[in-house]
Symmetry: C2
Subunit: 389 residues, 2 copies
Amino acid sequence: MPDFGRPLPEIPPSPLIAVEQLLHSFGHESPVPLHQGRTVFEPAAHPRAWRREEFGIAAHEHAPPAGVPALRRAIAEQVGARRGTPVTPEQVIVTNGATHGVATVLNAVLRPGDEVLVLSPQWLFATGLIRAAGGVPREVPVFLELCQDEEFDFIAAIERAVGPRSRAVYFNNPNNPTGFRLAEPAVAALVELAERHDLWLIADNAYENYDFSPDGFLDTATVGRAAERTFSVHSCSKTYAMPGARVGYLVAPPGCTQVLTKWALHSVYSVATATQFAAFEALAGSADELAERRELAADAWQLVDDALEIPHTAVTGGLYTFLDLRALADPGDFVRRCAEAGVALAPGRAFGEHCAGWARICFTAAGPELVLDAVRRINKTYWEGIREH
Amino acid sequence: MPDFGRPLPEIPPSPLIAVEQLLHSFGHESPVPLHQGRTVFEPAAHPRAWRREEFGIAAHEHAPPAGVPALRRAIAEQVGARRGTPVTPEQVIVTNGATHGVATVLNAVLRPGDEVLVLSPQWLFATGLIRAAGGVPREVPVFLELCQDEEFDFIAAIERAVGPRSRAVYFNNPNNPTGFRLAEPAVAALVELAERHDLWLIADNAYENYDFSPDGFLDTATVGRAAERTFSVHSCSKTYAMPGARVGYLVAPPGCTQVLTKWALHSVYSVATATQFAAFEALAGSADELAERRELAADAWQLVDDALEIPHTAVTGGLYTFLDLRALADPGDFVRRCAEAGVALAPGRAFGEHCAGWARICFTAAGPELVLDAVRRINKTYWEGIREH
């Protein structure tokens, strides 16, 4: 057998799979799976057959590489209405989930060896996607610092990390895993930094429906002149509770369609037509229902915030809080011990090199009673660890 | 706006889209679309809701990156039975169509600048996928030569093209666009060549159900010691008439799962769960039905072979024949003229640098009467061109 030219040794195996193997090894019949980003909400749309006229294309026909025109139009209308400025369907590229959206952008903007500044801690797969695209991730710790001190000069921290190979800044807002939300002045300063260094902005909006602040979701592209350098990444996975559909989309600056479409085509050809139709149905769903889900998620956060006896980040949005385990003798062992107690958490290290002393908990991945019971178990595990210390 | 690091200028825009724009410009109400690889057959499965027990996973849940276990098991069983040697589910990676399957393999095996030998003419997107993966495609013209002379020493032709950066051979069998089929002795010689130079084999089996030879589909991995170096790429698009499902799969040598899964995860995370279920249903369908479709496709070929007054390749499998237009003054203009006459063909250049004098016709993309009528129109266009010459 010949060898692999790019076996990606720099990307570790998924830590979530390791957690699942741990759970399995302890033989729990129904462990509480708070390690993944899940919600208990019903999916906004289900797979079904449809008449061709409903969507302009039949399920068995392959969609154009940039997406089904009817879906691109619906997305452009919705995003344009929210932004208050027109967005054309040509600016929208339908992707195989946000993962494929981020990969498509990274492939298009990175030359081999180019750097992406990653506001850290960050989404689990962000640095791996940068590696796979031939780039180098450069984590810039900002969110834990901001959680502790809103006045922390995160712009200076990013500025120090900018180098001659820097090409883009990747961030998600609200942030996974900390729940911190960059408000408009902070995003404006980030946009100015991007302008100063001619960087792209990759704004991952996976948690757009779960922004608990009074102002609600902040679309980076609406801040200052951000629209001309921002790839807005969106996902149906969290917003519509349908991660299995693998539908996400990019909203790009005008003039990017051809390049992004080439990359979409030369990675997957196109996204499954049937799941694009499900996204089309989900998009047409009720805004009230989405608002209700946001309130339920905020309630879940309050419940967990009140019950946790472990220091943790204060959440303004998203589905997670990040547990500060640095008072323990062996924070890295905490996830294993919780798995032994039947609760799955995500190890902090997966979200940033500087996060080994932390662990992530998803507060929407099970119903309130189950989550509360799980929090009691992890509190107990924590106090046992503290006593041992 | 910053610039794109990799805008892929070396990949031309899709020639099929250009053909569609031509058709549109001539204002035909119902042109005959023989430019794409299509069949008139009903899709083997339709999108539908299911009970979780049927598939071990619900539609809204995201599948594991390598595929839904039940589907991987079903594929492994079917492929193992056909090969006559066991195939494990771990050897199977479910991909977002064959496009994503080929991309996944290329990403895993190519270092930047590595070469892939492409047996030419080749599938439309093969060279672009190699470019996107950072590699260099090296077309080796063999199929038109073999069509003319079965004794043509295609191994010597490949051998001459092998260089120090050669990493893999890509080919599809039966071949798109010529319809030529490499028989077992030819494949055995190819396997030996790959062994001599320690190359991977990327066997694109998109047309596995449309092999009209008495022996039927030849799985490269069953020839000699090919299995240890062959990535078998399969697709539901043609086999089950469901290109919109975007489900394909790889069958890899043992020991490749981890690397291929990393690449699948870091490109799309996973394939849509609902379309994996559709593939699962299609796989469980009737072998008689597939055989019947093969016969219908063979009938369509006979019809076109009899009616064509233009030199063309003799077809042993696949859905296409390649028209030899070299007797015309301007072969490149033929596709435009046919579009003017209401028939869409694919320009030969899309299938290889040496194929500008050719055009591809898909004989299963419409019913027999429509195809016959289209052939009459392209014959007429051809004779007009000959007279002008």
